[in-house]
Every structure is written in structure tokens, then in C-alpha cells.
């Protein structure tokens, strides 16, 4: 038997297991997925926990529930990959040989990368919402909020779900308004970018919303350190911003095991071909989702589109055919803007977010780059779709792997 090993049973790894178990010849290929964590989190839901919209139960399910029959689950930590020997060394001392390896080990926050972030202030007046622990601790802190200076801070790009910090900011504004504490709260949004978002078209719309909602946007803020004792965040060019409550998106990095394996870049992300998803270093190693260094968004929708391409390319690789450069950087993201409204954006490597209707031209029902109630309903409905369709690899009607230009107001531009 030949061995195909998937590292990581998060969004991307689980989708690949579900796709490949249906496509590969069971007489010839054994599929194994390695993950030591018990819980599969619906990570887009973390955003809603601080405001009490979702509870922990809404975003947690047992990981094994989504691993299909026919795929062996190895419940162990990954020590390192030995690419020259084609094997994975596990933390329990066992080794797993592979013919093909798929890396889906994701990304995580690393607050320790910023001086002063961890320490006395952590989860007292400095919070993240990218972990279940951070999101629930922040919920408890917001319950007692009476007013003061709320600072939302993006430390370094790239991050998982690049729209989440802005969504959090807009949702916090709405939440505090509903709680009656908005007038007593100053809101500041600090970013190392020069604009509100990574895509210019979107920055114009969202940056305008920040202004309208009297949220102070501080651009080009490259954080050097946090002075937790004096509740100040300090940039490399020596600007200081005081806070009463700091909600930070710490540096995001790939898994440490990629560094140990010599497969990662400066942030432990795996250098990967941006169209075929083959790793740059080894022909029989592929990477998907947040674990890659691709210049696409680190988001579940992106992993979903990549999974279609990678499933095709794994079959091509096995058959000795040339790989299909099928991934176009397609991303599709809802952006919650508070007051039960949301935006929807659709973009790829070359085309910036534009106006139009989605997924059906003209009909929609979703409106691109517009703030609507139906977009918000779409975001909420997506949780059901995630658990019941997306992870299981069930196709979604009307949603194509490559970005469709039909029904969109295309203004030819090069994206990032």
C-alpha cells in the first residue's frame, strides 16, 4: 500500500481527507490524518463570542466527527517531517512513512513575539479573540466595561482572516452603543498598514465607515513593545498610544514543527507554488490553507477553493500528469459591520473586491461590497454550512473554485 499522510485535521486537512477518500483507489492508497487536538473549532465564530452572540457550544465539536471512514486518524503531536527520508516523526516516538504528504498545520497567534504582550496585562487588560480562551475571557471583560479607551491593534501581516480585526472593531462599536457605553468609550484602530484593509477598494468603503462611526484609525503603526504596567502600546517610531482595554491580533505564525522540519519561512509558513499548491522544496509534499506562504487570504473560504485544486493535483501527481495551475487566489469573505448588517467581498490574486451580486449574477441574493441585512444572514447561516457541507466536501451550488467575473463591475486592476 502507498501512504498519503495529511498533517492537521483543521478546516483544510479535514476537507482534503473527505475529498481524497472518495477519489483515491482504496486498494492502492492508505490515507492517514495526524492531529493531537480533540476539538474542531468553527473559528469564524470566535468573532461573535466576545459580544455574547455565540457561546462556546456553538463553535466546538469533536474533531473525530468530521474525519471520514476509510481515513486513519493518528492522535499524536508532530515532532518533525524528514523530507529526505519521506517520513514524519511523531512526538510519541513513532514514525509515519509517506509517499505523498499534505501539510495543513495551519497558523496560530504567537503573542510572545511582541515584547510585553504576555505578562501581567495578558487577559487582564490585553486580550486576543483568535483563541477560544481569549474570546471567552474578552466576553467576561466586556460585560463589566463602563467606558474608557478601547484600542484594537493588528501587530503584523499576514494574519488569519484579515477582515476580522475590522469586523471586531465595527461589532464592538455597535455592541457598546447597545450597552449604552459608546459615548463613554474612545475607539482606536492601530494597523501596520497604510489603509484600513489590504485591498484598496475595500479600504475606501471600510475606512469611510470607521470615520462615520468616529473610530480613530492610526495607520503605519508598527508595534515595538507593549508597556503593560503603564498601559501603553509603543511603535518603532516612538509613537505611544494609551489604552484601558487592548484587543490585539498578535503575530500569526505557522506551526513550530515546520521550523523543526526546515520547511518553513521566517514565520514558519511553507513556501508553496501559488497556483498548484505543491511545496517549492519537495515534489511529493503539498501544502494548503493557512500553513502556506501564499499571497492569498488565510481564510476557510480560501482553503475550500484550494481543496478543489489540490484534490485534482494529487490525482494528477499520482497519475504522473502535469499539475494544473488552478488556484487563482480566490477568496470570499463576509464582513460583519454591526447592527445586523454585513458586507460580502469576492476577490482573487488579480482582481480586487468589486461591486456586484453573488453567487448568482444580478440575482444574488448577496450584494458585493455593499452593507446589507441579507449579507449578515448569510454570515450567520454559514456556520451550518461549515459544519454540514464545507468540512464534508459537499459542493455548494453556484460557488465556483475560480472567481467568476460574471455580474461584477470589473474595473481592471492588479491586486496585491
Amino acid at each position: 500500500m502507498k501512504q498519503l499522510v495529511i498533517l492537521g485535521a483543521g478546516t483544510a486537512g479535514t476537507m482534503m481527507a473527505n475529498h481524497l477518500v472518495r477519489k483515491l483507489d482504496k486498494q492502492e492508497w492508505a490515507l492517514t490524518i495526524v492531529d493531537e487536538h480533540k476539538t474542531h473549532y468553527y473559528q469564524p465564530g470566535f468573532l461573535f463570542i466576545p459580544f455574547g452572540t455565540y457561546t462556546e457550544q456553538d463553535v466546538c465539536k469533536p474533531k473525530t466527527k468530521f474525519i471520514p471512514k476509510g481515513v486513519t486518524h493518528v492522535d499524536a503531536g508532530i515532532d518533525q517531517v524528514k523530507p529526505d527520508a519521506n517520513e514524519v516523526l511523531l512526538k510519541n516516538g513513532n514514525t509515519l512513512p509517506y509517499d505523498i504528504l499534505i501539510i495543513a498545520t495551519g497558523s496560530k497567534i504567537v503573542p510572545d513575539e511582541t515584547q510585553g504582550m504576555l505578562g501581567d496585562g495578558w487577559r487582564r487588560d490585553i486580550f486576543d479573540f483568535y483563541t477560544i480562551e481569549g474570546a471567552t475571557a474578552l466576553r467576561d471583560r466586556l460585560k463589566e466595561w463602563k467606558g474608557g479607551k478601547l484600542v484594537i491593534h493588528l501587530n503584523e501581516m499576514p494574519i488569519k482572516c484579515p477582515v476580522a480585526p475590522l469586523e471586531f472593531t465595527l461589532l464592538a462599536e455597535a455592541f457598546l452603543t447597545q450597552q449604552g457605553t459608546r459615548d463613554a468609550t474612545e475607539i482606536h484602530y492601530l494597523s501596520p498598514l497604510s489603509e484600513a484593509f489590504t485591498k484598496h477598494n475595500c479600504s475606501v468603503v471600510l475606512g469611510g465607515m470607521l470615520t462615520d462611526k468616529k473610530i480613530t484609525f492610526v495607520p503605519d503603526f508598527q508595534c515595538e513593545r507593549i508597556d503593560a504596567a503603564n498601559k501603553k502600546i509603543v511603535s518603532y517610531d516612538e509613537r505611544e498610544v494609551e489604552y484601558d482595554l487592548l484587543v490585539t491580533i498578535p503575530t500569526n505564525m505557522g506551526d513550530d514543527c515546520m521550523a523543526r522540519s526546515g520547511l518553513g519561512d521566517d514565520l514558519n509558513f511553507v513556501p508553496t507554488d501559488k497556483h498548484t499548491l505543491q511545496s517549492k522544496a519537495h515534489a511529493n509534499i503539498f501544502a494548503i490553507g493557512d500553513a502556506t506562504n501564499l499571497p492569498s487570504s488565510k481564510a476557510g473560504s480560501v482553503a475550500h477553493f484550494q481543496a478543489d485544486v489540490l484534490t485534482e493535483n494529487i490525482q494528477r501527481f499520482i497519475a504522473g500528469k502535469p499539475l494544473e495551475p488552478g488556484f487563482d487566489g480566490h477568496a470570499n469573505c463576509f464582513i460583519e459591520s454591526g447592527y445586523n448588517k454585513a458586507f460580502l467581498i469576492d476577490f482573487n490574486y488579480d482582481v480586487e473586491p468589486v461591486e456586484g451580486a453573488f453567487p448568482l449574477p444580478v440575482v444574488g441574493p448577496f450584494k458585493l461590497l455593499k452593507e446589507t441585512w441579507i449579507n449578515h444572514m448569510g454570515k450567520l447561516a454559514f456556520r451550518w454550512i461549515y459544519w454540514n457541507m464545507l468540512l464534508k466536501g459537499i459542493p455548494m451550488p453556484g460557488i465556483t473554485t475560480k472567481m467568476s467575473l460574471v455580474g461584477k463591475k470589473i474595473n481592471k486592476q492588479k491586486g496585491a
Partner: protein, 105 residues
């Protein structure tokens, strides 16, 4: 494609004034762009970053991040901000005749 006359040389530039062909770059061109950005004179420390960016871009095919400048280039981030106040990589890449760093995704 727009062009610009910089230090007596005609170079291809984009709408933001970044050179589109790194091979048209010369040291005097770099100095002239630096002066326009208010960075003069260019010291050894300034050139060290320009040199790293050009070599790394040639080797990697993409602009390094500020983290990579620190790790692989050995230049502390604090120093970058002292040398190129306001936006070290945006300014230095323009002076180096390289693309503006993508703000990522």
C-alpha cells in the same frame, strides 16, 4: 507606461513613481529618489538596507518583509525607522528601484 527623468536617465515607472524595471536602476538614480523623499545624504547604513533588498529580491523573487530584513538582513527594525522615518520598506524599495511591498492579504 509612464517614464521619468531621474538623475539624467529616463526610467520606466508606475503611477506611484516606483521603477518597473530594476535593471534601469543606478546608484545616482537611487540617490535622486532618496533626495525627493527627503533622505539625504545616503549614508553607509542607508545603502546597507538598499543592498540587502536588491539581493534578496533577486534571490527570492519577492520583496522581503520587515521581519525578514531583521532576520536575514541583520538590520534591527528600530534602526530602519531611524534611517527611513515614516515607512522604511515603502521608501527604501522605491530608492532601490524595486516594487512597493505588497501589503499582503
Amino acid at each position: 507606461m509612464p517614464t521619468a527623468d531621474i538623475a539624467g536617465v529616463t526610467v520606466d515607472v508606475n503611477e506611484e513613481g516606483y521603477l518597473t524595471d530594476p535593471s534601469q536602476w543606478t546608484k545616482p538614480v537611487g540617490e535622486a529618489i532618496a533626495a525627493e523623499l527627503g533622505i539625504a545624504p545616503m549614508t553607509e547604513g542607508h545603502w546597507k538596507l538598499i543592498d540587502f533588498l536588491q539581493k534578496d529580491y533577486a534571490a527570492q523573487g519577492q520583496m522581503p518583509t520587515i521581519r525578514r530584513v531583521k532576520n536575514a538582513g541583520g538590520i534591527p527594525i528600530k534602526e530602519l525607522y531611524e534611517l527611513y522615518p515614516g515607512g522604511p520598506l515603502k521608501k527604501a524599495s522605491k530608492i532601490a528601484g524595486l516594487p512597493k511591498p505588497a501589503s499582503c492579504v
